[in-house]
Symmetry: C2
Subunit: 344 residues, 2 copies
DNA sequence: TGGCAAAAAGTTAACGTTATCATACCCTCC
DNA sequence: GGAGGGTATGATAACGTTAACTTTTTGCCA
């Protein structure tokens, strides 16, 4: 009816008719039914976002970046927390498709039973669903657009910084190395050592089964205690996530280990509290908000790429890799002033 | 058609028909359309959650509690961040109603232009929409169910603790006192002083215009510096939020003020990092997750209260007030041992 | 004034479900 | 063998919107 036109394309309705309609809408407290609209148009102005753990500030920041871009463009976010469980992730994708979301932003969980949600993602791509993968890129997925962080480079920078500080035995508290991000951080660490011709001591590398926040903290704590009990304990610690770092620092404080004199420490992810610690924490910043922003923008391109011929256009796959930065603070430098190391 | 029955009420369909149907669904990759279903049934299994600031860990924890309860009961969460802006909150409620959410959980923003979203909430209640207010209860709303924290009690406990420690001049870094939570914290502080017959020095009470995280931090920082510059500076600080505390601690560290010898500090909200500080931070715990859980359960009661007669049942209003706890750590107690300094 | 194009408004059907009612089928029992 | 009662399935309409098409109105010019 004309009402629909008055609300959606006011310019093609005569002025006084429009005013009359709007006035009546106002009086009747009329509210368009989004479900009916979605049913008819097969578009919802909703975008699904699936993250693995929203108790971790990392992911909240990512979502903030996404939100800034997408709600600005008139999309509503459907946020789901997979809790690092592939099965949940799968169900959530399913639920979002049921609601005919216009697009999806997914950070694959580390617990994906490989086949399951990967093939689901392949299906989505084949169906032409606008989709951008964030932060993690499981090996099995090809031809997908994604925004990630150069974890290898981040870990390398951290390792080199510690080596420059004279450390020769550096403990690596890695997350789940079944995840590409986890493995990349190990790779960066190894590159740092190799570059200096240092042998790798497998005992100095600890991994976790999952990246879930609570587990990270626990692993950081117990692994650090184990390090401290070694005959030739490391003199520096590289923590590959803020949750791991929290556990590690707790362990060091408990044992009254002096930072950085007895143990230097570098962590991943700058948090609001890292500068409040004594000493302040050296970190590899994760450009989380920016990652969210870029992923949002990328998805937006796809969303605005209207399929005029009714058939989904074959889209070029794009990949953005963001560079992490090293911020040197006192936790990793013996008696020296802290400064930011410029990118090289 | 029979398909609908096979999927929704399998027990009333003959076994072999059902199997045939399910097999075909599988083969065709059939997925029920949630919009069509919502349109027809006028129910969406979605619950809207509106919080004022998801960059603040406080709210993320609240949402976690809500999620634990509601997704377990088969509801999907629609999370919106009002950014402490009444106008956004209003639009978000509107959008959620368009999508025929089954219920709403709202933490009213502090920037509500009083009339606007309050009357909207009244409307919702009148229309029988299941609705639970969380954490904050604006003065204008009556007859609504809510789950809150006893802020007055929390601030009182903190104040009493500091008074017990011998402090006589306690700086109060309050948030937005136009918000009931903010005013209640001031009230608790005043009760503490009054109980000991101490005069109130208005100069020791600082408030903020809004509870937005960034502002909180800034206010904590600058107000603390102002305190330190006073002729008779306070010897203790009561911060009414974790963001304010972050700013305050930053200021104290910058001025190299010894905690707790020169300035004791108590904060609201226990975070994962509060024990990592030197000294560890004394806090009033906010039962955030529990608040979310209770709000979720309360809403669930309303949701399950099916209107058999087609007319919304008049429901009893319920209120739950959760009690915060004082956790004493070294930031508020002089000397290694946590011993109480006798009164006068 | 008639004719014609453009603008505005109206009509119809369809999106994919499910509530409701109608039908077909199968058994049991007198 | 037919009435009665259950169970399983089928048919129809409706939820509120909009795409596509049709009709009406308006405005303009010859």
């Amino acid at each position: 009816m004309t009402v629909s036109r008055a609300l959606n394309r006011p310019e093609i309705v005569a002025d006084d008719t429009r005013h009359k309609i709007l006035e009546v809408c106002e009086r009747l407290n009329y509210r368009p039914n989004a479900n009916a609209r979605s049913l008819r148009t097969n578009t919802s102005h909703q975008v699904g976002v699936i993250i693995p753990d929203w108790r971790n500030a990392f992911w909240i920041d990512v979502v903030s970046g996404i939100e800034a871009v997408l709600t600005g463009a008139g999309f509503q976010l459907l946020i789901a927390n997979s809790n690092e469980q592939g099965r949940r992730e799968d169900l959530q994708i399913e639920a979002m498709l049921s609601q005919s979301v216009d697009g999806l932003l997914i950070a694959p969980s580390d617990g994906a039973p490989s086949g399951d949600s990967l093939s689901r993602i392949d299906e989505l791509l084949a169906a032409g669903m606008p989709l951008v993968i964030i932060d993690r890129l499981p090996a099995g997925i090809a031809n997908v657009s994604c925004v990630t962080i150069d974890n290898e480079s981040g870990a390398y920078k951290a390792t080199r910084h510690l080596l420059d500080g004279g450390h020769r035995r550096i403990g690596l508290l890695a997350g789940n190395i079944n995840l590409d991000t986890g493995q990349q951080r190990v790779d960066g660490y190894l590159r740092g050592l190799k570059e200096r011709g240092l042998a790798v001591d497998e005992q100095l590398i600890r991994t976790a089964e999952t990246n879930a926040a609570l587990v990270g903290r626990e692993v950081g704590y117990s692994s650090t205690l184990e390090f401290l009990d070694m005959d030739n304990a490391p003199t520096a610690l590289l923590c590959t996530s803020n949750t791991i770092a929290i556990g590690a620092i707790a362990a060091l404080q408990e044992r009254r280990v002096q930072i950085p004199e007895e143990m230097a420490i570098v962590s991943f992810g700058d948090m609001e509290w890292t500068t409040l610690l004594s000493p302040p924490l050296t970190v590899i910043t994760q450009p989380t908000i920016e990652m969210g922003r870029q992923a949002g923008l990328m998805l937006l391109e796809y969303l605005e790429d209207v399929p005029e011929d009714g058939h989904k256009r074959h889209r070029k796959q794009r990949r953005i890799v963001l560079e992490p930065q090293l911020i040197v603070r006192a936790s990793s430098v013996r008696g020296a002033a802290a400064k930011t190391i410029p990118d090289d």
